[in-house]
């Protein structure tokens, strides 16, 4: 980021014009900070059972109530932030790591290689995401890490396609031609010159995909195919509350609000970033 841009970010007028980006960023920062400082925010140990207090409706002591084992739901939701942030970083990171090189190679070399890679990505894309994830989890067994691998795989085509299209237009640019003219190696051109200029759109896509990761992960955990209890994953918490919907609806209510908040935060931030980086798109959405 150039010095000029850093200065711009601290300019109030600049921020006023980009309300979406600021709101999204603030929401995400609040989320991450709450995750980091979970031990200071959560009043109870998220795993601590107190059977005498099971199914306590929200009150002053337990603002979100307690579950069937008397565990404090507020504390579990707060600790759940850590799981969710981890899910986002791991899953988005892994799909970028696989998708981007594939897209770069496809776009840069073109021809047969391009066709093969894109065909492969299209095949993955033809699976409905959650179905592919269920299939993979059924093979690897349900666990946090296996679920994240499954979710990462179905996002690979999104990054592959995007980085391919970016490469196709970037490789015609003068700086790439210049690099080629002075004899830079192909790998260097792809991973240094082209990738560096593709970072911004990839970042926008990653932010927009982050919400999807949370939705998929919580769905799988809700079904019992993802994060296993007693780990406080939001989808898992809702799944647990499902059995008690008649007596304790608050058990599902609050973790679901946390999911909506998180997905909303990343979607708003992603939209804002996209408008900022590509103002042409702004009026379209």
């Amino acid at each position: 980021m150039s010095n000029n841009k850093v200065k711009k970010i601290f300019n109030i007028n600049f921020l006023k014009k980009r309300k979406g980006m600021v709101i999204g960023a603030v929401m995400v920062i609040i989320l991450i900070l709450s995750g980091i400082f979970a031990p200071f925010i959560a009043p109870y140990d998220p795993y601590n059972q107190d059977l005498g207090k099971s199914f306590t409706a929200p009150n002053d002591e337990h603002i979100f109530g307690t579950d069937q084992f008397g565990r404090d739901i507020f504390s579990r939701v707060i600790y759940g932030i850590r799981i969710s942030i981890m899910e986002i970083f791991f899953s988005v990171g892994l799909s970028l790591l696989i998708g981007v090189p594939l897209g770069l190679v496809a776009g840069y070399f073109g021809g047969r290689i391009d066709q093969m890679i894109m065909w492969f990505l299209d095949i993955i894309f033809s699976f409905p995401g959650i179905l592919l994830a269920i299939l993979i989890v059924s093979i690897l067994g349900p666990s946090l890490i296996n679920m994240l691998i499954a979710i990462s795989i179905f996002s690979v085509p999104i990054y592959g396609r995007l980085s391919r299209n970016l490469t196709l237009s970037l490789k015609q640019q003068e700086f790439v031609l210049a690099a080629r003219a002075i004899g830079a190696k192909k790998g260097r051109i792809m991973f240094k010159h082209i990738l560096r200029n593709a970072v911004a759109p990839l970042l926008v896509q990653a932010t927009l995909t982050a919400g999807g990761v949370i939705l998929s992960a919580s769905s799988l955990s809700f079904l019992g195919l993802g994060v296993q209890p007693p780990i406080p994953e939001w989808g898992g918490l809702i799944g647990n509350g499902r059995s008690f919907i008649g007596v304790a609806p608050y058990m599902s209510l609050f973790p679901g609000l946390a999911i909506t908040y998180t997905v909303l935060a990343f979607n708003i931030l992603g939209d804002g970033l996209r408008d900022y980086l590509d103002p042409k798109l702004k009026n379209k959405e």
């Binding site: 409905p128 769905s219 809702i238």
Partner: protein, 306 residues
């Protein structure tokens, strides 16, 4: 146009072949003896040997796949370990339930989404527009199973006006349909709005207005027709998403469809059933996407001559 469709037509069986190969191979990656896995936990040694010869596990992997394909084409996807019934029968008995749920959600999502999105674009920046956008962003950020539980808790438990779960009457359909439709409705509304906004700014719309045509004619005849192309693409792509969502929704409402069948089969490690259900569902989604492609070619002449 002919060559484009021909290309797609050749690709379709190829894609299905590769997809079936992937599913077939993936299930071979499970550690342990596939014959024992396919025969189930309670199978005797004899059963396992029978399964081994039926699957042709002593032959090489491509021959095995060939055998699997041959059986699949003849409608034999093996038998469920748990119920012992043929997989194809299990799927056939569940499919209508999923179809009812999918079609009703799809219809609602399309009708509400397109109407809301187009009106929002026509009345850009009005309170209606802002409301639609707010709903669209919220809808895309909410977990559908959570929404389903909220609906259950309010309408079934508290108010008692809708059944909690199961099938039978039209009332049983209300909550599953609405919770499944929520997410695609939001996406379709958003896409319809942005597509319509883009079209409204085109020169030929200005020309139509300049000719003195009525606003309604301009919108309905000139703008809407062109705005429909990206809208249909998005609607088509939603079908796969909808199937994925059905897995979760059906589980929440104990709706006896394919989605719940899949989740149950994973839970009981019923591998023939997992293989069959995933295969059938992916085939349907691929086929529907193919049909959407054809419809788009039909209505968008630009693709035909590309």
């Amino acid at each position: 146009m002919g060559s484009y469709i021909a290309k797609k037509l050749i690709m379709l069986p190829l894609v299905l072949l590769v997809v079936s190969f992937i599913i077939f191979m993936l299930l071979r990656f499970i550690p342990g003896d596939p014959a024992r896995l396919m025969a189930g936990q309670q199978a005797t040694q004899e059963d396992v040997e029978m399964m081994r010869s039926r699957l042709g596990l002593d032959k090489n992997i491509f021959l095995q796949y060939g055998l699997f394909l041959k059986n699949a084409v003849q409608g034999d996807l093996g038998s469920s370990i748990r119920s012992n019934k043929p997989v194809i029968e299990e799927i056939a008995s569940r499919l209508p339930n999923t179809a009812v749920l999918a079609v009703s959600s799809y219809t609602i999502a399309t009708l509400v989404g397109v109407t809301a999105g187009v009106l929002a674009a026509v009345f850009q920046y009005s309170w209606f527009d802002q409301g639609v956008m707010f709903f669209a962003i919220l809808g895309a950020s909410t977990a559908n199973f959570w929404l389903a539980l909220l609906g259950m808790s309010l309408f079934s438990v508290k108010l008692g006006i809708l059944p909690l779960m199961g099938t039978g009457t039209w009332q049983h359909l209300v909550l599953p349909t609405l919770s499944l439709a929520f997410y695609p409705t939001a996406l379709i509304a958003r896409m319809s709005r942005s597509s319509m906004l883009e079209i409204i700014r085109q020169d030929y719309i200005r020309t139509a207005r300049a000719k003195g045509l009525k606003e309604t004619v301009v919108y309905i005849k000139h703008a809407l027709r062109n705005a429909f192309i990206p809208i249909i693409t998005v609607i088509g792509l939603q079908f796969g998403v909808l199937f994925g969502g059905a897995v979760v929704t059906e589980t929440v409402f104990s709706w006896p469809g394919i989605g719940r069948l899949l989740v149950d089969s994973v839970r009981y490690r019923d591998y023939p059933l997992i293989q069959g259900t995933v295969l059938m569902t992916v085939f349907m989604v691929v086929f529907i996407n193919f049909m959407v492609d054809l419809i788009i070619v039909k209505i968008d002449p630009r693709i035909r001559f590309d």
